[in-house]
C-alpha cells in the first residue's frame, strides 16, 4: 500500500469538504450517464418553412441543454437527431424511416407545420410510436391515431372555434357589423380557417359580400384588396402566409382601406423581420396568434425561455424576438419530457396512455389532450397591434404593443377601430 503524503491528505480533505458543501439538489442532478435517449425528427432548415423551422430547432436545443444540465432524462443524456426536410413533404417519410430503422431513435416528434407532419404519420403509425407534433392543424382528423398529440392551440373543433374570437370581438362592436369579406390563401390551413369564419358568419347573420381564395403564386395583391373594397364589407377576415401578408397589407395601405375591423390568421407579423418592415401599417390589425408578451399571458418559464432564446437567435441570425414558434417548440419537448419522467421508461404505449390521461405544465401554460390528441381547450388568441411607431424592435418586446383581445381570460386591452393600414 502506498503511503499518503501530507499534500495528498490535504487534497483529500479539500475534496471531502467540497463534497459536503455541495447542495443535495446539485448532487441529485449529477451528470447524466449511460446511452443517450435519442429524439428524432425532421425539421425545415431550408425552404419556405425554414423561417419558423430554425427558431423551433433553437428552442429544442435550449431544452436539451437545460435537461442535460439538470441530470438528463431518466438519468440519461438526451440527444437530438434531426435532418433538414427542405420544407418538402416528400422528404419526410424517408427521414422518419431512417430515424427509426437506421438511427434507432428512442422517441420521435414532428417538424414544423401541417405539410411536414402529415407525411410522417404513416411511418410513425406503422412503428406504433408516440408522436408529438408542432403547429399541425387537423392532421389527425383522418388518421385518428391514438398516439398522436398536437402542440397547436386550435383544438379539434376548428370549424366551430377557430374564428370564434374574431367574430366575438367583431360582434361586440357598436354598431354591430352586418357584412364580412373572406380572403384566404389556397392552402390546407387557410381553407380550414376560412371555413370556420364562413360557418360562424352564418351563425351571426353576417352577409358574406366577398369570399375568394388566392393561389400561392400571387404577386400583386392590389386587385384583391380593391375588389374587397368595392364589396364594402364592414369587417374583413384574411388568412395568409408571410409573403402574401406583406403584399396584402402594403396594398391595403396604398388603397387607403377603412374597415371597421380587419385581420385573422395573417401569418407574417409573427416573424420579427416582417413586424419591423410593416411598422405602423400593423396598427389596429387584429391577428390570430399563439403568444404575445402581455402580462396576462405569462406562465412559469415563458420569459426565461425568451430571454435565453434572444441572444442565441441574434448569434445564429434567426428570428430575433422568438414570440411565435419557440414557446410552442419548447412546450413540445416539455410534454415529451414530462410523460417520460412519469412513465419512467421508454414505452410507446405507456407514454401515449400517460399523455391522454394527464395534464402538462408548459411554458405556454397548462394543457391536456383529447382523444384525437388535440388540446381539450382551444386557445386561439386574437391580438391587436396598437400604437406602433416607426420600425424599431424594442416596442415589440414591451407589453401594450400587441394587446390580447380574446380569449377573455387573457385579455389585456380593448379593440381599437377602424383598420386603416397606417393612414
Amino acid at each position: 500500500m502506498q503511503s499518503l503524503s501530507r499534500r495528498d491528505l490535504g487534497r483529500a480533505a479539500l475534496a471531502a469538504t467540497a463534497a459536503a458543501t455541495v447542495p443535495a439538489t446539485a448532487r441529485a442532478q449529477a451528470a447524466p450517464s449511460g446511452p443517450p435517449i435519442r429524439i428524432g425528427y425532421s425539421m425545415s432548415l431550408s425552404g419556405g418553412l425554414a423561417g419558423n423551422g430554425r427558431p423551433a430547432l433553437l428552442a429544442h436545443r435550449i431544452w436539451a441543454e437545460e435537461v442535460n444540465s439538470k441530470g438528463g432524462l431518466l438519468g440519461r443524456p438526451v440527444e437530438l437527431v434531426n435532418y433538414d426536410d427542405q420544407s418538402t413533404g416528400a422528404q419526410v417519410p424517408g427521414i422518419y424511416t431512417k430515424l427509426i430503422d437506421v438511427d434507432k431513435v428512442d422517441l420521435v416528434i414532428s417538424g414544423y407545420a401541417t405539410a411536414i407532419i402529415a407525411p410522417a404519420m404513416p411511418i410513425v403509425m406503422q412503428r406504433n410510436m408516440a408522436f408529438v407534433s408542432l403547429f399541425g392543424t387537423g392532421v389527425n382528423n383522418d388518421f385518428k391515431y391514438d398516439r398522436y398529440f398536437s402542440i397547436n392551440p386550435t383544438g379539434s373543433q376548428v370549424k366551430e372555434t377557430f374564428a370564434k374570437g374574431f367574430m366575438d370581438i367583431a360582434m361586440a362592436m357598436d354598431p354591430k357589423p352586418r357584412s364580412i369579406a373572406l380572403v384566404n390563401l389556397d392552402s390546407d390551413f387557410h381553407q380550414r380557417t376560412a371555413e370556420s369564419a364562413r360557418f360562424l358568419a352564418r351563425q351571426h347573420g353576417l352577409r358574406v359580400v366577398y369570399d375568394r381564395a388566392y393561389p400561392p403564386s400571387t404577386v400583386d395583391f392590389a386587385p384583391i384588396i380593391r375588389a374587397v373594397q368595392a364589396a364594402r364589407p364592414d369587417i374583413v377576415f384574411v388568412g395568409s402566409y408571410p409573403p402574401d401578408t406583406a403584399g396584402l397589407l402594403r396594398a391595403a395601405s396604398e388603397l387607403r382601406v377603412n374597415f371597421q375591423m380587419m385581420g385573422g390568421p395573417m401569418i407574417g407579423p409573427h416573424i420579427t423581420a416582417q413586424k419591423l418592415q410593416l411598422g405602423p401599417i400593423l396598427n389596429n390589425l387584429v391577428v390570430w396568434d399563439v403568444y404575445a408578451p402581455e402580462p396576462t399571458l405569462q406562465f412559469p418559464g415563458t420569459q426565461a425561455l425568451i430571454e435565453r432564446y434572444q441572444p442565441l437567435a441574434a448569434k445564429e441570425g434567426t428570428d430575433a424576438l422568438g414570440h411565435y414558434v419557440p414557446p410552442l417548440a419548447y412546450a413540445q419537448m416539455q410534454v415529451l419530457e414530462q410523460a417520460v419522467r412519469r412513465v419512467g421508461r421508454i414505452d410507446q404505449a405507456a407514454l401515449a396512455a400517460d399523455m391522454h390521461a394527464n395534464g402538462f405544465d408548459t411554458v405556454i401554460g397548462p394543457l391536456r389532450f383529447d382523444a384525437l390528441g388535440e388540446w381539450t381547450e382551444e386557445r386561439n388568441l386574437y391580438t391587436q397591434y396598437q400604437g406602433v411607431q416607426g420600425n424599431g424592435i424594442d416596442q415589440f418586446r414591451k407589453a401594450g404593443t400587441q394587446v390580447i383581445l380574446y380569449p377573455q381570460r387573457y385579455k389585456s386591452g380593448d379593440l381599437r377601430k377602424p383598420y386603416t393600414a397606417g393612414a
Binding site: L45, S46, G47, G48, A50, G51, G53, R54, D186, R212, A213, Y214, P215, P216, S217, T218, V219, D220, A222, P223, I224, R226, A227, A230, P242, P243, A246, G247, R250, A251, S253, E254, L255, R256, I271, A273, Q274, Q277, G317, T318, D319
Partner: protein, 293 residues
C-alpha cells in the same frame, strides 16, 4: 365614375405596372433563351440573388434599392460571363447543351438558393425605398410608386438594351449569333466571345430585376420559383428573341392576371393568363414578334 369602370381601369393600370416587373424579370431570359439558345432556368434565382444583395446593401448604406441594383450590374455581368465560360466548356462545346445544359442550370439554381440560405438565412429580406409608401392618384386611378418606379426603371433599362442591340456593332453581333454563329466567324468575330458578352448582359439585367423585385415585395431565397413559369411564358409569347415582344407579352400577362383577379377572383388569374399563352401560340406559334420558321 361607374364603380365597375373604376375597377376595370385600376385593374388594367395595376396590371401594366405588374407587367413592368415581369418585363424586367423576363428581358434577360429573352437574351439568353431567345437569342443565345441557353435555357437558363436559373434566371429567376439570379434575380433573387440580386434582390437579396440589394436588400443587404440597402440595410448597410440606405441608398435607393434601384440605384444599388444598377451598381451591381457590372459584378453580375462578370458572374454571367464566368458561368457562360463553364457552360460552354463543359456542355455547349461538346454539343451536350440540351438536357445536360438544362441540368447544369438547375444545379446553379439550387446552389444559389442553398448558398443564400447558408449565407444570410431563410428569412425574408426587404428594402424600403423612400417612395414606396407613396401613391399618386389620377382621379380614381391609383398609381403606387412601389410598383410604378420599378416599372419605369425596367422599361428604361430594356429600352437602353434595345438601342444597344440595334445601334452598336456588338449588339448586332449578339442578334446575329442567334441566327447563324458560323456566319459571324466569316466576319472574324468570335461567336463564343459574343455569347459570353451577351450572357453576361442577361445576368446583369437579373440584378436590375432583383432591385425592382425587392422594392415591390419582401424576398427570400425561394422567391424566384413563382416567376419561373411566368417569365418563360412571357418570353415565348413575345417571340423568343424580341425584347419588344417580351415587353408587350409581360404587359399583357400582367393585365390579364389583374383584371381576372379583380372580377373573377385571384384563383383564376394563372389559369386565364396561361390560357391566353396557349391561345396566342395556337394563332401565332412564333409569338407576338417572332419570325415564322
Amino acid at each position: 365614375m361607374d364603380p365597375d369602370l373604376a375597377l376595370l381601369l385600376n385593374g388594367i393600370v395595376s396590371g401594366l405596372l405588374l407587367g413592368g416587373l415581369y418585363a424586367a424579370a423576363a428581358a434577360g431570359l429573352s437574351v439568353s433563351f431567345g437569342m443565345l439558345d441557353v435555357v437558363n432556368i436559373a434566371h429567376p434565382a439570379f434575380m433573387v440573388l440580386g434582390a437579396l444583395l440589394v436588400a443587404l446593401l440597402w440595410a448597410a448604406t440606405g441608398l435607393d434599392p434601384l440605384l444599388l441594383s444598377v451598381l451591381l450590374t457590372p459584378a453580375f455581368w462578370a458572374l454571367g460571363a464566368a458561368i457562360y465560360v463553364v457552360y460552354h466548356h463543359f456542355f455547349e462545346r461538346r454539343g451536350d447543351e440540351a438536357i445536360q445544359g438544362l441540368a447544369f442550370f438547375f444545379g446553379v439554381m439550387f446552389i444559389i438558393e442553398v448558398g443564400l440560405v447558408l449565407a444570410i438565412g431563410p428569412e425574408q429580406h426587404f428594402a424600403d425605398a423612400a417612395y414606396a409608401s407613396t401613391t399618386w392618384r389620377l382621379g380614381e386611378i391609383d398609381l403606387p410608386l412601389r410598383m410604378l418606379v420599378p416599372a419605369l426603371v425596367s422599361f428604361a433599362a430594356i429600352g437602353a438594351l434595345v438601342l444597344f442591340l440595334r445601334r452598336t456593332f456588338t449588339g448586332r453581333a449578339i442578334a446575329a449569333v442567334a441566327q447563324d454563329r458560323e456566319a459571324l466567324r466569316l466576319l472574324a468575330i468570335d461567336p463564343v466571345r459574343i455569347k459570353r458578352l451577351a450572357f453576361g448582359i442577361s445576368i446583369a439585367t437579373a440584378a436590375l430585376a432583383g432591385g425592382a423585385l425587392v422594392v415591390v415585395q419582401p424576398v427570400d431565397a425561394w422567391s424566384g420559383h413563382v416567376f419561373i413559369g411566368r417569365i418563360f411564358a412571357v418570353v415565348i409569347m413575345g417571340g423568343l428573341s424580341s425584347l419588344g415582344g417580351c415587353v408587350l407579352a409581360a404587359l399583357a400577362f400582367g393585365v390579364v392576371e389583374n383584371v381576372t383577379a379583380t372580377f373573377y377572383g385571384p384563383s383564376w388569374s394563372p389559369a386565364v393568363a396561361f390560357g391566353c399563352l396557349l391561345l396566342v401560340l395556337a394563332v401565332r406559334p412564333q409569338g407576338f414578334f417572332g419570325r415564322a420558321a
